[in-house]
């Protein structure tokens, strides 16, 4: 599979470019929207939440940004990735190419966007007086874990979506729920110790906490959570790949 992908690297490259540029084609600010969007979201939460939830987290603005930007990475890849096979039905029916290229290019374009967005996080950390530490070298590790985690989910969903179109709507709903089940707006300490482990079952919780360790607290994420992330990412990625492999043979007939 890797050799096959390597042979088609030009297609992968031009597809990633198309994903990054194509989304906001025709809009005045173009690609800038992919960075502006999460920032505007942060702005709303930063104004609203300290008042209605009475959250007293230090550096709440930075706390939010480090939560929202990885979250945006996750949801953008998910929502675009699960429809990618369907909207490319035209070429799937007419030409052979490794079908994995479609979900992979969506995930890769998300990863590129995320790395650029991290500059915004850094900017806010520096302006807020938090500074930067050597822990930043760990950032790519977690970004890549998140990449494979999301890719695994997207591989499965984009394939299943061809057979059952409801997936798109179900996932949209799950994303909405997951937003509140992930400590983006609130700290996990808000929950009593007894049920807090439920939050930590969610790999996104572990990821966002890790990003916060890197950017805000300047400390090493716990080894246990890294291990948990690696295990669950590997499992999800290979299950996703397996489902995709099983279903891809019918794409040209079913879309």
């Amino acid at each position: 599979m890797i050799k096959n992908l390597y042979n088609y690297r030009e297609l992968l490259k031009s597809n990633v470019k198309k994903e990054i540029r194509g989304k906001y084609k025709g809009s005045f600010l173009g690609v800038l929207w992919s960075f502006l969007n999460p920032l505007l979201q942060v702005l709303v939460y930063a104004i609203v939440f300290p008042y209605i939830m009475r959250i007293k987290t230090e550096n709440y603005l930075q706390y939010l940004i480090v939560g929202i930007i990885p979250w945006t990475f996750f949801t953008t890849v998910l929502t675009q990735g699960m429809i990618t096979v369907r909207i490319n039905a035209g070429i799937i029916k007419k030409v052979y190419f490794p079908r994995e290229i479609l979900p992979i290019s969506v995930a890769l374009s998300g990863l590129v966007n995320f790395f650029i967005s991290c500059l915004i996080i850094l900017l806010f950390c520096i302006i807020g007086g938090l500074g930067v530490s050597w822990h930043l070298v760990l950032l790519p590790v977690f970004a890549i874990i998140q990449f494979f985690l999301t890719l695994g989910i997207v591989l499965a969903l984009s394939a299943i979506n061809i057979y059952i179109k409801d997936v798109e709507y179900i996932v949209q709903f799950i994303i909405n729920m997951l937003f509140y089940a992930t400590p983006i707006l609130y700290p996990t300490t808000l929950f009593p110790k007894k049920i807090r482990w439920v939050l930590y079952m969610n790999p996104l919780t572990e990821l966002i906490e890790a990003y916060r360790d890197i950017f805000i607290y300047h400390q090493l994420p716990s080894v246990l959570s890294i291990l948990y992330l690696i295990v669950i990412t590997t499992v999800i990625f290979f299950i996703g790949l397996l489902i995709f492999r099983k279903l891809e043979k019918g794409f040209a007939e079913e879309v």
Partner: protein, 246 residues
Amino acid sequence: MTKTSPYSIEVNNVTKKFKVYFDKPNTLKERLVFWKNNKAETRTVLEDINVKIKKGETVALIGVNGSGKSTLLKLMTKIIYPTKGEIITRGKLTSLLELGAGFHDDFTGRENIYFNASIFGLTRSEIEKKIDDIIEFSELGDFIDNPVRTYSSGMYMRLAFSVAINVEAEILLIDEILAVGDQHFQEKCFQKLHELKESDKTIVIVSHALDSIKKLCTRAIWINNGHVEMDGKVDKVIDEYLKVCK
């Protein structure tokens, strides 16, 4: 995969069945509510096909409409997969099933060459080496930098054909497209196909243009009702085929 095998394409005991839904269940609700009703009818398009094509052969697939020849070609490109049996292809493969598959209307001809050739698995440097040949072959001249949506269907077809034919794949699969384009370009295409044939490429063509096929191909496979009716020298097969058609 052994390199010593003389065959470019091996079709072994291939059966292809399509599900024909009268009302295809697309949503979960439809699947659950009507799960008893949408028993799909299966239609066997190809049954137990065995074809071996040697490297360097130029083969025509002939047969009446709906006989399954296009399906066989699609199976060879790996766009669809056989229900039973296996298909082995050796070497880089290019297909021209429908002209301009994967063209983007808003992109210029030149950008589409890059995009189309990358779908065929070429790298950027490989494309750059060939792009002048491709543009020259297409005879589009200055139009190459216009968006393809402004092209006439003839120009569109010329561009698509120029890309596919210049990819230099070892196996070229072509479906019913030789009838497009003006006389001049058609002849040019045939000349190019002859060149490819001489340079030991494997070519499989589905076509109804029997006269052109006779000149180009060495072997013909007549497919009728999902079976191989006859397989052999192009003249013989076409003669027999014409007898039945009349």
